[in-house]
């Protein structure tokens, strides 16, 4: 009995650790200076998401969470980078520094504020609901969601924006595996497909934007700006 108890403690701590690193990768998405670094941070983040899903699945003996972990690895760790490298190899390999609206230090400080904001939302939610399980996933997932949205807003370059979208999805699911562990599996599969579709379509769109405008600095496109 004692051993199983301590195993559960270690598993919880490991899950929390995945959460901590998940948060760090979300920061890395904002702080990184090159597209490839962004993609790498995203892959690590997806791995951590899968790891957390597998840990929680093992802990709660939930098959659907184990499957979610598997789906995440297949779609986000293997297929998405493959799709990106297929369509955007050139874009990813450029060593050019990608810029932001703010300097990285300011961005990091704003992100910290967002994380604290996410924390307060999560506390309210957790306080309101009776069930308390793997509570760390909710605030961190929410923070991941916000940081992804922030990355989309401040990045001027195409690839980091797309990765920001995918990171938002990651954040939502990082929270989801703890608050909605038996989410309909068909929906999980459909979301995985949807994420692949995002990667594919946005990849092609980026390529075409590059062909037609000669740049992928989408933040600088302002022909349509008025009022």
């Amino acid at each position: 009995m004692l051993t199983t108890n301590s195993t559960i403690l270690v598993l919880t701590a490991l899950n929390a650790l995945a959460g901590g690193f998940f948060l760090l990768t979300a920061f890395a998405l904002i702080a990184s200076r090159q597209s490839l670094a962004c993609l790498k941070a995203f892959i690590i983040q997806s791995l951590l998401l899968a790891m957390s899903a597998l840990l929680l699945g093992y802990q709660n003996a939930s098959v659907s969470l184990l499957i979610v972990g598997g789906i995440t690895i297949v779609s986000k760790v293997v297929l998405i980078p493959w799709l990106f490298l297929g369509t955007l190899a050139h874009e990813l390999r450029t060593r050019r520094e990608i810029t932001q609206v703010f300097s990285i230090t300011i961005s990091l400080l704003i992100s910290l504020v967002l994380v604290i904001f996410a924390y307060f939302i999560a506390v309210t939610l957790l306080g309101a609901s009776p069930k308390q399980e793997a509570t760390i996933n909710l605030p961190i997932g929410l923070a991941g969601l916000f940081l992804g949205a922030y990355a989309i807003t401040v990045r001027r370059e195409a690839v980091p924006q797309v990765i920001g979208i995918l990171a938002m999805e990651n954040g939502a699911f990082f929270a989801g595996i703890s608050i909605a562990p038996d989410f309909p599996l068909i929906a999980e599969l459909a979301v995985a497909f949807d994420v692949l579709l995002i990667a594919r379509i946005m990849g092609v769109l980026t390529m075409k934007v590059h062909q037609h405008t000669g740049t992928t600095a989408v933040g600088e496109m302002a022909v349509l700006r008025e009022e």
């Binding site: 939610l125 309101a128 949205a149 699911f173 579709l197 995002i198 989408v218 700006r225």
Partner: protein, 482 residues
């Protein structure tokens, strides 16, 4: 079974129109037939719903109630007129570009229609999210279809912003699911949600609602996240614009207002307050931006933002009359706005210019296009006796009878400002002095048929609504007020 057919038909059409062929009318014909079939099926569903209140194809997964049937009907109708209109549009494409693009256009068109039809038909909320997300993803390349750098810019902003919104909405839906499981709910469908809602912790419901409101609100074009919308509508091909503005925004809004019965009354009407604030903000912003607009397709784009705001305000006002007004406004906006974009498309085809200032005296160049543009402007800006006037009147009236004078007063003010702005611009376009005397190109016959077909409900529904449809609207209103 009709519901399943409705989903299958556009998929089959997409497959058929993707087949390589030399005849450029072949995919166009397939699409027109397909959308016609879908429209017929949707009408049957609507008829059935108006008598038995709900059609179920697969229990818990595919079903359709009055609100869904209303949306289904609107989507399939706009898809039909838009498919007819597209015939002439692709005729132009073929003249300039490669023939294989026509097949590509229709494949995307059908997939886009499929994704929109899936929204009201699916009853699992999680799947509805995916369907809404698909409407974005499958319309991205329709937006960028003109292959200009402006079109790509528009498509990019559209895709990124709406996907960002979808991410927020996904989180909201996960919280909703959490709430449903916590309160012991069985199914994660719209009706299951309404059943579980009273037992759900209000904080969860409220947070989920806010996330979904902001997330899907981005896609519905609600201020302040509407920034992608005008650019997209100015660049997208007009038949696609008609679909996007008439019904795609409505599908996103549908996902928001379906929450209304679940969140009704929590925290002292907190969600209603938010809907009112966002709605009024959108209406007001759109009304004042309408004044300085420079392109006529943008004019109708801002008008879309305005109408989305009006529907949200109507739901936020709450009360049987306001709910009826909201579903009525959904109907009138869809039919009128698609008609407006067809007229705008015809104008663009005739004059080749998007600018308001360079189009003058349209009625002398082409009486048909001039009249339809003017008619569309009158109808969309809410002049009597058109349908939009009626629906707006219903909303204002119910708001006054509820005693919400402040919101109603603001709404009325904004609507009047928008009316003046639209009529000012369009009357200049239609009646102004002809400045350039260049020969206008001929209008394809399919344009005339499409505009003619779209004009029927626009002119009719202000004075007469068929009994079953009225019944459907009342049913939808009761669903919202449940």
């Amino acid at each position: 079974m009709e519901l399943i057919y409705i989903l299958i038909i556009p998929l089959v059409c997409a497959g058929l129109s993707a087949m390589p062929t030399k005849r450029r009318w072949y995919p166009a014909l397939i699409t027109v037939i397909g959308t016609l079939l879908a429209f017929i099926e949707a009408s049957r569903v609507a008829l059935e719903v108006s008598s038995v209140t709900e059609v179920v194809a697969i229990k818990g997964w595919v079903s359709c109630d009055a609100l869904g049937a209303l949306l289904l009907l609107l989507i399939s109708f706009v898809a039909l007129t838009s498919a007819i209109f597209s015939w002439g549009f692709t005729g132009k494409v073929i003249a300039q570009n490669r023939p294989e693009r026509v097949g590509r256009y229709y494949r995307r068109f059908n997939l886009f229609v499929f994704s929109m039809l899936a929204v009201p038909v699916l009853s699992q909320i999680a799947l509805v999210w995916i369907a809404v997300e698909l409407t974005t993803l499958l319309s991205v390349f329709l937006v960028s279809f003109p292959n200009t750098s402006e079109a790509f810019e528009a498509a990019w902003k559209f895709a990124v912003l709406t996907c960002m919104g979808a991410g927020l909405a996904l989180f909201g839906i996960l919280i909703l699911y959490w709430g449903v499981t916590v309160s012991g709910g069985e199914t994660f469908t719209w009706s299951g949600l309404v059943e579980a809602a009273p037992k759900m912790p209000p904080a969860l419901l409220q947070t989920a609602f806010l996330f979904i409101l902001i997330g899907f609100g981005t896609k519905a074009g609600l201020a302040p996240l509407h920034t992608w919308l005008p650019g997209v509508y100015s660049q997208t091909p007009s038949p696609v614009c008609a679909l996007m503005s008439g019904v795609e925004t409505s599908t996103a809004l549908y996902a928001i207002i379906r929450l209304a019965p679940a969140v009704h009354g929590i925290h002292g009407g907190f969600p209603e307050q938010w809907m009112l604030v966002f709605g009024l903000l959108s209406v007001g912003l759109a009304a004042f931006l309408l004044i300085q607009v420079k392109e006529y397709k943008r004019l109708f784009a801002f008008s879309t933002i305005e109408h989305m705001g009006i529907i949200l305000v109507a739901v936020g006002l709450s009360g049987a009359g306001a709910y009826f007004g909201a579903s009525y406004q959904l109907l009138t906006h869809a039919i009128t706005k698609s008609f407006c974009f067809f007229a705008a498309g015809a104008t663009l085809r005739l004059t080749g210019s998007r600018e308001i200032v360079s189009v003058r005296g349209l009625i002398r160049k082409s009486p048909f296009v001039g009249v339809s543009l003017f008619l569309g402007a009158l109808a969309i800006s809410g002049a009597p006796p058109f349908a939009v006037f009626m629906s707006e009147l219903v909303i204002l009236k119910s708001g006054i009878s509820n005693g919400q004078y402040f919101s109603v007063g603001l709404l009325a003010l904004f609507v009047v400002v928008a009316f003046c702005a639209i009529m000012f611009h369009v009357s200049h376009m239609v009646f102004g002095k002809v400045t350039d005397h260049s020969q206008v190109s001929a209008l394809p016959r399919s344009y005339a048929i499409g505009i003619g077909l779209a004009a029927i409900p626009v002119c009719l529904f202000g004075v007469y609504i068929p009994g079953p449809l009225l019944n459907l609207l009342h049913l939808a209103a009761t669903l919202l007020g449940r």
